[in-house]
Each structure stands twice: as structure tokens, then as C-alpha cells.
């Protein structure tokens, strides 16, 4: 996918949402929640599929928090439905654009689900993932076109590549964060005391 600006992605994504939910695109803004537009779970699947085929990307099927909880293990980022301090640190690092005030006080997992359903969040995610989809063939420079099952094929030389999955990229990001930010200070008794 050739580079697209944020507003190009937004316009295109809005059209996908409007068509799927049969609503007027003018109802859709960056801070609109997909569920407030009436999207049900299967609508989200449809929107996901349409987005993947139009932008040539492979969206993750779970949130970054869920992937991170799998990597960190239970109870570290989230406990009894609320973010821990460690969890807040993680998400602020992952989402520097988010308003820091959103992480003040008690933050419930359901509040984050709301955030993950925001149109603006999807637009940013699409833009990030599209970076991993080459517009040109690595070997011959020919134009790449969508092929079956999350693959792209060069229209000139026929070389095929598999798209990076959003899930896999998220997991890599989380593992790097874990090694860089969490393990060093989790291993040091001094900072554990400080955190308490």
C-alpha cells in the first residue's frame, strides 16, 4: 500500500464503517466509538475483513493489552479488572498520543475496551500496520497486488510475500518492551521497593 496520510486512512475507513453499518459517513468522527454507531460483534468482524482487504493488512484479533497480559503473565499489568501502575506505564508507552489524564486514578479494563473501539484508534492502527505492506516488489520493483490469504504478489515477476500479522507485530513489540522496560526493574529489589 503506498503511503497514506492519516486523513486519507480516516476517510477510507469511515466509508467502510458507514457502508457496513448502513449509516451516513458524516456521523463518524475520530472520537466516535464503533459501538455507539450501532456496531455489533459480527459487524466488527465485517469491518475488520473489509479493512484488511482494502488496506492490504492483517489486523490483530486481540487488543494490545490482551497480548501483553499473555506475555507478562496474569496479575502484573491488570488485576481484578483494573490496570496496575505497571499496566498504566505500559499503555502510556504504547499509546503516547493518549491523554495522560485517561490513566489517572482507577482505570478499568472496560474503559480501555472503549478506547480500542474508537475510530481514531483504528485509523492509527491501520496506518501503523500499512507500513509493513510493501507497495513495490523487493526483487524487481514491480507493483505488488493482493493475493490469496494475507499474501501479496508482484504483478511483474510473480514473487509472493506473506503479510506480517498485527498479532505477531504486537507480540514482538510487547516482548521488546518487556526486556527493555520491565525485566530490568522487576529484577532489581530497589525499584520494587520504590514501586511500592
Amino acid at each position: 500500500m503506498p503511503y497514506m496520510t492519516e486523513s486519507e486512512v480516516f476517510d477510507r475507513f469511515s466509508q467502510i464503517v458507514a457502508k457496513s453499518l448502513r449509516i451516513d459517513p458524516s456521523l463518524i468522527a475520530r472520537d466516535t466509538h464503533l459501538n455507539d454507531l450501532g456496531a455489533e460483534s459480527l459487524d466488527l468482524i465485517e469491518i475488520t475483513m473489509e479493512t484488511e482487504s482494502q488496506f492490504h493488512i492483517f489486523l490483530p484479533d486481540k487488543s494490545i493489552l490482551e497480548t501483553a497480559v499473555e506475555v507478562f503473565g496474569p496479575g502484573i499489568l491488570e488485576n481484578q479488572g483494573y490496570l496496575t501502575e505497571e499496566g498504566k506505564r505500559f499503555l502510556m508507552c504504547r499509546m503516547p498520543q493518549a491523554d495522560a489524564r485517561a490513566f489517572e486514578g482507577e482505570v478499568a479494563v472496560k474503559d480501555l475496551q472503549q478506547y480500542f473501539l474508537k475510530v481514531g484508534t483504528w485509523v492509527r492502527m491501520i496506518q501503523d500496520l500499512a507500513k509493513y505492506t510493501p507497495a513495490e516488489c523487493e526483487s524487481c520493483g514491480g507493483p505488488m497486488a493482493a493475493s490469496m490469504g494475507f499474501r501479496m504478489k508482484c504483478s511483474k515477476c510473480g514473487q509472493e510475500i506473506t503479510l506480517r500479522s498485527g498479532e505477531e507485530l504486537n507480540r514482538e513489540w510487547v516482548r521488546e518492551y518487556y526486556d527493555r522496560e520491565y525485566r530490568p526493574h522487576a529484577g532489581s529489589p530497589v525499584s520494587v521497593t520504590a514501586a511500592e
Binding site: N35, I45, K62, E66, V69, G81, K110
Partner: protein, 353 residues
């Protein structure tokens, strides 16, 4: 109302209540005034959403309150009005029941709500330890290829083996089943769609069996290796699913062999000091063979009901064999328990006008 406080030693009847609504009995704002608590009313007023979403939210709350109201009335003979029942959500977003001060100590049912295309359904079960999930989806306007995202190759294999005219309906039933289990476990499908693996479907009963995998198992390690049975139904253009999991053994549906093993072990405990010439086996007869008195039978029946946390009509069974002047083998007892363990959530469905 002191006797209404939950006492885990008393077997509960736990009749599930499903309420389904597809029309507003009054204009939405009038209904909101009638049924919502002040906090819910504030939420309704502040809701910035399209009309479809606002109406479905309100209908969902109404269905939930009706299900709670009816489950209390039928099981405890307690009558509350809808505005005495507040539906709140836990930190993960799951609905929960709260009462006002007058009924603060009343047993709280567990609850699940779903809505789709102008219809709302709610499921309430009067067992605070249970986990329940309900889902509702419309058959209309589905992308044919949603199955490629929603299901694993194995699950698509199950679908491919079905008669062609049933495939799209069963794809939706399978989806609903995953949703219902996700809701019952409290985290929705956040563990990923493939973590809710569909092992079997039963076309004749509508049952869909799910096994948890990967991170869904991390959320509920006690369900490893268990088969979770979800009941699915089709009604006109909607497919719905209900899943009820009692923390006891009931929803895990022990096999008949497991039931027999348990009974033999229990018999062994009860008759520890009794002297028998022959070992106790599946064909041993309770009264003539093992020398049971009626009190021993009552002790055994109580133990079985407590173990499976399910009330069973033992009184009828004992009366019947008394009338017929016959005995009861452990094998027959296992059959009886096996028959009465399956939850029949589908039968409790009713429409509220």
C-alpha cells in the same frame, strides 16, 4: 426475608429465566422513566449513540430487569419492581445485579444480556456462583466469508460436513456459542476467537460443545480438558445461544462413567464399616444387597445432590421403587443421576409482552 440469604448447603433450584423483547411497550423515554434507576437514567440521558444503539441498550436493560424480576418471583416468591433492580457493570464490562436498600440482602442472580437488530435478550440464573452467557445474532446480511476469520480450519471442517442448507445458520450458531462462553467467563472474546474451540455440534439438539484453548485457559485454568455445552436455538431470522456454568460439577457434564465411579466411591465411604461377603459393584442392589435402610438412602441422595450441586427428584424415584416393590442397583442410580444432570436452559425461555 432472612431465609433468602444464600446458603450454599441448601440445594437451590436455579431455574434459569430467559427474557426476550422485540418491541417497546411504551415510547422509549416513557419506558426509561418507568424502569430505570436514577443512575441508569443518567447514563441513558448522557448516551451519545445512534438511535439503534440507544434503543437496544434500553431494551436490553428492560429484558435484564424482567429476567431478574421473574427469577426472583418464581424461585423466592419475592416481587420487585424494575426500578428496584439496578444493572451495573463490573470492571470488565459484565452486567451485575444490585438492589436498592430495601432488598440489599436478597440473593443476587447472575446475568447476561445481548441484543441485535432491535431485539434484546437476557438470561438470569439464581446461583451467585454460576457464570452465564447469552448471545443473539441476526441471520440477515452476513458476509459469506466471515467464517474464514471467525473459525479455525478444523471448525470450518465441521461446517463443511453439514448439509449445505444448514451451513450459514450453523456458522452463526457456532459464533453465538463462542460469544456466550466468552461472556460467561467474564472477558468476552478478548482471548481471541480461536481460543474458544468448537469441538462438536449436535444438529438434533442444537448443542455446541466448546473447549478452551490458549489464553482463554489462562483466564480459567480450572476448565482445562472440560467440554462446555452451549445450547443454541434458531427463531425466525435470529440465532441465539445460552450457556450456564455452575461452579459445581453440573455444567461440566461428567460422563456416565464418572458418575458411576463417584457413586461407587461414595458407597464405599458410606458402607465402610459394614461387612459384605461380596465386593460392592455396579450391579449391587442398595436395599437387599447392601442392606440400606431408608435413612441411608436419604443420606446418599443428599450427598449426590450436594456433590453435583443440582437438585434431583430422588423422592419420586424412591416412591416409585417402593410402589413397585423392587430394588435399585448402583448402575440404575447412575443412569438416574446422568439423566438429571443436563441443564435444560432452552425450556425456560418465555416471551414477555
Amino acid at each position: 426475608m432472612g431465609n433468602l440469604v444464600y446458603d450454599s448447603s441448601v440445594p437451590q433450584t436455579w431455574l434459569p429465566e430467559v427474557c426476550r423483547l422485540d418491541t417497546f411497550p411504551h415510547a422509549p423515554d416513557v419506558l426509561a422513566d418507568m424502569i430505570l434507576t436514577p443512575a441508569e437514567r443518567a447514563h441513558w440521558t448522557a448516551m451519545r449513540a445512534v438511535e439503534k444503539r440507544r434503543h437496544e441498550w434500553l431494551l436490553g436493560r428492560y429484558a435484564a430487569k424482567e429476567a431478574v424480576r421473574l427469577v426472583l418471583e418464581k424461585n423466592l416468591d419475592v416481587r420487585l419492581s424494575p426500578d428496584q433492580i439496578e444493572i451495573v457493570t463490573d470492571p470488565y464490562g459484565c452486567p451485575q445485579v444490585e438492589y436498592g436498600q430495601q432488598a440489599g440482602h436478597l440473593l443476587k442472580p447472575v446475568l447476561s444480556i445481548a441484543h441485535s437488530q432491535g431485539t434484546a435478550v437476557a438470561l438470569a440464573v439464581l446461583d451467585p456462583g454460576a457464570r452465564v452467557g447469552i448471545d443473539l445474532e441476526s441471520l440477515a446480511h452476513r458476509r459469506e466469508d466471515f467464517e474464514t476469520v471467525a473459525f479455525s480450519p478444523d471448525e470450518r471442517g465441521l461446517l463443511a460436513a453439514l448439509p449445505a442448507d444448514l451451513r450459514s445458520e450453523w456458522a452463526l450458531r457456532m459464533w453465538c456459542a463462542k460469544e456466550a462462553v466468552g461472556k460467561a467467563l467474564g472477558r468476552g472474546l478478548s482471548a481471541g476467537l480461536l481460543a474458544f474451540h468448537i469441538a462438536r455440534v449436535d444438529l438434533s439438539t442444537g448443542a455446541v460443545e466448546i473447549e478452551l484453548r490458549a489464553s482463554a485457559l489462562d483466564q480459567c485454568p480450572q476448565l482445562r480438558g472440560k467440554s462446555l455445552e452451549v445450547q443454541t436455538n434458531r427463531e425466525s431470522c435470529f440465532v441465539s445461544s445460552t450457556f450456564i456454568y455452575h461452579q459445581g460439577a453440573a455444567a461440566m457434564r461428567p460422563s456416565r462413567q464418572e458418575i458411576l465411579d463417584y457413586l461407587l466411591q461414595k458407597m464405599g465411604e458410606l458402607t465402610q464399616d459394614w461387612d459384605y461377603p461380596d465386593p460392592v459393584g455396579p450391579e449391587s442392589l442398595l436395599f437387599t444387597g447392601l442392606g440400606f435402610e431408608s435413612l441411608d438412602a436419604v443420606v446418599l441422595c443428599t450427598a449426590i445432590q450436594e456433590h453435583y450441586q443440582t437438585p434431583m427428584p430422588f423422592a419420586e424415584l424412591l416412591a416409585e421403587i417402593g410402589q413397585q416393590q423392587r430394588d435399585l442397583s448402583i448402575n440404575e442410580l447412575a443412569d438416574f443421576v446422568n439423566t438429571h444432570l443436563r441443564p435444560s436452559s432452552g425450556e425456560a425461555s418465555r416471551r414477555v409482552q
